[in-house]
Symmetry: C2
Subunit: 88 residues, 2 copies
């Protein structure tokens, strides 16, 4: 039972982390970020950064790993969005 629950948690972590990959690829290729909220990615990237700090304090490796990847992906989205906002 414990392993089943852990598997759900693990799958949840993988999906929420991996989900940003198609968004980054689409945004990088098309450079179309008009519908993407700058405020969202500013707050979200900060939040993921704090999850990472929390993981480091807790020495929780799955938390550190998942949030490091998400931080890079969300950070890339934020960078692309700021870049587009400056150009306009």
């Amino acid at each position: 039972m414990f392993d089943f629950v852990s598997a759900i948690g693990g799958l949840a972590a993988i999906l929420t982390t991996v989900s940003f990959v198609p968004q980054v690829i689409q945004s990088y290729r098309t450079r179309d970020l008009s519908g993407v909220s700058l405020t969202m990615y500013s707050i979200f990237t900060t939040g993921i950064g704090l999850w990472l700090v929390y993981g480091v304090f807790k020495q929780d490796w799955p938390l550190i790993l998942a949030n490091s990847i998400t931080f890079c992906l969300a950070g890339t989205m934020l960078f692309l969005k700021i870049q587009q906002s400056i150009k306009k």
Copy 2:
């Protein structure tokens, strides 16, 4: 020390949850979802749904609360994006 770390975790949870509010408001108002990835929100909403199931199994109320809210917000984004995709 424990309280400080818990505060970081709590703030992280609040920020990552709340971050989707400006995205949903912007998308609802403008109906501009061209730059938003359908694949991202499909995978992300599924992942958050699994986090919710995980929280229910663990009887972890902060996890249940945060993921219920995020599930509704991400689900709204997914709905708006599918709606826009059908119209095209």
